[in-house]
Symmetry: C2
Subunit: 612 residues, 2 copies
């Protein structure tokens, strides 16, 4: 009997199963815990998945899905039978245990100055002597300036006033009156900050009266089913219907997160008055329904980079979308800088995602650029790669034995980005790969060396092809850092800190990252994980309009460096594909460390063959 | 066999028919020409009517109507059988010939300065050297200030630019960019001005490049099916569902008019960029979905009187709603004054509708008030009353014979408002009613005097009850004028002009209006019909932002007089119910004229019985 391959997304886990098993059984075999409260009888509807190209469905499935959902491939994992090779997308809510998504982050103290104000007023009742209109009555009773009144507020005003004996709470967004509520509701005032990534969307429910975080919820970006990276989504969005599909899927994701946040914190969705969004340029374009096509062709410009305050079709009265720097240095980078403000020290900030943004500078002068790192560090295009979920290998030690550390100490399921960096550094240290990334023969580990790959644990191995993917990713990221330093006119000795941002950045093994040449060879104490800085920056902008002003200044003052216009980029990229680099003089401490166990690093200073 | 009564709305025509006839047959018998292209076979669906309380329907009707429409009483007139007393509402579009609605009006020359600007731009294409965002590129190429960009414009910009080699036409509303179109469309720029009345809605399609009127279309206000006057609609709107029903029915009416206008003028609806609305306070509240409940109780205040520019859910990017003066002196009155501007002469402006607004003043000082004239002059509550449609009697002469003049010289169908004034004046002149409005016995017209009524033509008569309705209406309108003069501190001799506005005002027989005491006894050459001034004012405000500024000044500077707070109003009202007035010294010329043929006006000067 022929085995069939099932690939689970977004974790990228793959396995072979015999025909006739259900998708639920396959998922369990792959170590993915799907919800199945009914025990797989098609009764609870919790094991919802999206199966591309799958056609049959059962009566049980007709109960749970609309015709439209069935067309879009929604199925119950306990009902769908594996009868050919399948790709199965698992929505976040169908997972029994959620993927680990970084939601903490450095914070700094700010004064609360939210854009939302709630004001309780006891108004004099109208009479023949006092026949001001409702709006005049409000305006006259308020100390704040009220430049305009939204139609929604106008719809609420007469009813709220007269149903509550003229005791009402006004909701102001800036100088616009956007709501009028019965009685005193001034102690209930919330907002949600969003970090909208290509892969992950995180929402933070904030109490705008206290500045406290009430709840955090994250979901996978559902646009993943239309393409892993921004370029494939931009291509998909070429026609207006698909653009709208992407817009709606992201909007629904944000709405779902708001619902979860409100449920978790015991607030009503109507008490959420403003949303603040930080995302990369493509995500922000798609969320607003703006065609991102200009981002995909030179000179890679966004349609708009200014901040936008738009009426929200979600809960909340308005959505404030943070400003960007350039087409591939988006509001997420602005938010990174808000969270980790520039000062008088020369610092590098690196946000590693599917796209990698690099910022270099001080409060007086800043450069930024972006480079396509690719999804290797997020588990895609890697044979046994997976995202940072329980069971993902995040650290490897190769001595006499090979030791692996997994997330939550679960049995190993695959390799996370941090594990990839770790294993590459260990292979290099042990001479199992050379500086050009080629797997070497080894007597000591002969049993692990097979089929052009190195077996880490059980079936899990790192392949020669994987190593090439890692070289491409780290080459691009390091070349970007080099170009920025050159453009700035400084050397690595001038760099006083490297801050690693992003969900992945926080878990990077710092020594290993230097060993493979992902980042510069500076003392480890100068390397800092700053967590999900984009989310922190979005929160700060939700809590204070002053931070929004700073964001605007950042978006206007950061100088964008377009790498594709740099003639030296290609050479820097090629040089940086070596482990750690073709020019070992750039990595003196790393070289010394590697030379202890790998003799090939003892004599050379430049790894490029002499013929070149 | 018992005859059944069928009442047609909004014309208020009534007739008796034998059971078994179709509604279409009944309509034809009543002189109402319904569309019936298929000859009444239930095939064309053009004779659509709304029948209250009618339950059965045919298969043909199921073809044309949704379940929801059937529930709301929609039927085909050719299929619905008269089997009990029925009230039938005839939508404007089902009429073969439309009701005459006044759409002309005095105009004055203004400089074109519309809020909408279209600007054609040839933009430099982006390059690595010129990597400004799309919005920056637009902003830099424009001489106009661009304060903000709407989300809709942002959605259009990247596509329009790249589909047309960076040659685009921008649409600006004030300083907001609201649209971006491919190529040069700057010669296609339109707006629609609306006069939204309780009974009638008129739309004017204006070319904003030339200032020319391209088309005019009018429809009955569909809210009529929820009540004839504003008070009954306010009562109906007490709960949110009904408020929304009223809002939607009016919005649909406006959308229908825009479609008709565009079809008539050969424009696309997408080329209509702004709507300007002038209506009474209640209509404007309902159109915006704002509860009008505060208008119905003392002190009768609107929720808001400032002008509003709101995103339009209709065609057009924005709807500009003109400012009001008070709860019952709305934007229609402001528009009246815009159309017929105040100057240094002391003038009265009277807009007669279901509500009557009276304005008195000069450019330096203005008073305004409102009074409920009731719908008598619009044909409702009058036995044979009807609106100004073909066949409506608009003038009557009583000498030896009774001569009638009808609209379009059609066979008489009923009496229009102008006809009511005319016949009342003639009855008075001939001594057939006394000053207290009581029908007198007459040998000369004995055959016409029956059942407490005076037969005008065929079955058409004016009844004693009709005369009471006329007295109530004209009493209220005249009392309002008197109070304004008193408050202003002037007498009728100081009044230099009486301007009569509104569809009905234009057709009032001036002499007769003075004879019955509807307006002051001033020389006829000082009385002027100014047509549908509210519509003209709305058009002017569409064509020029300067006129909008004037409207704002008018709304803030006109002093509102609340008649219900005036202790003398009741007495003025009672005095003014006499024909022409209890105090004949106020009507010296009228008295002289009436005295020639009616001896009772020869000796008295005050008609109030001495006992009072």
């Amino acid at each position: 009997m022929v085995s069939l391959q099932v690939t689970f997304q977004p974790s990228a886990k793959r396995l072979l199963v015999e025909p006739g098993h259900t998708v639920l059984e396959a998922a369990h075999a792959a170590g993915i815990q799907l919800r199945a409260e009914c025990g797989g009888k098609g009764l609870c509807g919790k094991c919802k998945v999206q199966v591309s190209g799958y056609e049959g469905y059962t009566e049980e499935e007709m109960e749970f899905f609309s015709q439209n959902e069935l067309r879009r491939g929604f199925r119950l994992a306990c009902q769908a039978i594996v009868d050919k090779n399948l790709t199965v997308y698992i929505p976040e809510e169908s997972l029994a245990r959620k993927q680990r998504i970084l939601v903490e982050g450095v914070t700094r103290k700010i004064l609360l100055a939210p854009n939302v104000k709630k004001i309780f007023l006891k108004l004099p009742e109208p009479s023949l002597e006092d026949n001001r209109t409702d709006v005049e009555r409000l305006r006259d009773s308020m100390e704040y300036d009220m430049r305009s009144v939204s139609l929604e507020a106008l719809n609420q005003i007469p009813v709220a006033m007269r149903d509550s004996k003229f005791e009402v709470t006004l909701v102001l967004l800036g100088d616009e009156l956007v709501g009028c509520e019965r009685g005193d509701t001034s102690d209930r005032c919330f907002g949600v900050a969003f970090d909208v990534g290509t892969t992950t969307v995180v929402g933070y429910l904030m109490d705008l009266n206290s500045g406290e975080q009430c709840a955090v919820k994250a979901r996978m970006n559902p646009q993943i089913s239309y393409g892993d990276d921004v370029i494939s989504r931009i291509n998909f969005a070429q026609n207006p219907e698909n653009l709208d599909r992407l817009r709606r899927s992201l909007r629904d994701c944000l709405m779902g997160i708001i619902t979860e946040l409100a449920d978790a914190a015991g607030t009503r969705k109507g008490e959420v008055y403003e949303l603040v969004v930080a995302g990369n340029a493509c995500m922000q374009h798609l969320l607003l329904g703006i065609s991102p096509r200009s981002l995909a062709v030179s000179p890679y410009i966004p349609v708009v980079k200014e901040p936008l305050s738009v009426p929200s079709t979600l809960y909340g009265k308005r959505m404030y979308v943070l400003p960007m720097i350039a087409g591939f240095v988006g509001a997420d980078t602005v938010a990174d800088i808000i969270a980790h403000p520039l000062d008088d020290r020369l610092r590098l900030l690196i946000d590693i995602g599917t796209n990698c943004e690099v910022v270099l500078g001080t409060e007086d002068r800043v450069l930024a650029c972006s480079t396509a790192a690719g999804p290797a560090f997020e588990g895609t295009h890697i044979r046994y790669g997976m995202r940072a979920a329980p069971g993902a290998i995040e650290r490897v030690e190769i001595n006499d034995h090979v030791t692996v550390h997994t997330i939550d100490d679960e049995p190993p399921q695959g390799i996370a980005g941090s594990g990839l960096i770790s294993v590459t550094a260990e292979l290099l240290r042990n001479g199992l790969i050379n500086a050009a990334g080629k797997l070497q023969t080894s007597e000591r580990f002969a049993s692990r060396m097979k089929n052009d790959s190195f077996v880490i644990n059980g079936a899990i191995a790192v392949t020669q092809k994987d190593l090439r993917e890692i070289q491409l990713a780290k080459g691009a990221i390091f070349a970007a850092q080099r170009i920025l330093l050159k453009t700035y006119g400084v050397t690595v000795k001038d760099v006083e800190e490297i801050a690693l941002a992003g969900a992945f950045g926080n878990y990077i093994p710092k020594e290993a990252a230097k060993d493979i040449g992902l980042i510069f060879d500076i003392p480890t104490e100068k390397i800092k994980g700053i967590g999900n800085a984009a989310g922190v920056g979005a929160k700060l902008c939700l809590l204070s309009v002053k931070e929004r002003k700073k964001a605007r200044v950042i978006s206007e003052s950061v100088n964008y460096v377009e790498l594709s216009s740099r003639k030296d980029f290609q050479q820097e990229f090629v040089d940086a594909m070596y482990f750690p680099h073709s020019n070992l003089e750039l990595f003196p401490l790393v070289r010394e460390r590697l030379a202890r166990t790998n003799p090939s690093f003892r004599s050379v200073s430049n790894l490029i063959p002499t013929s070149e």
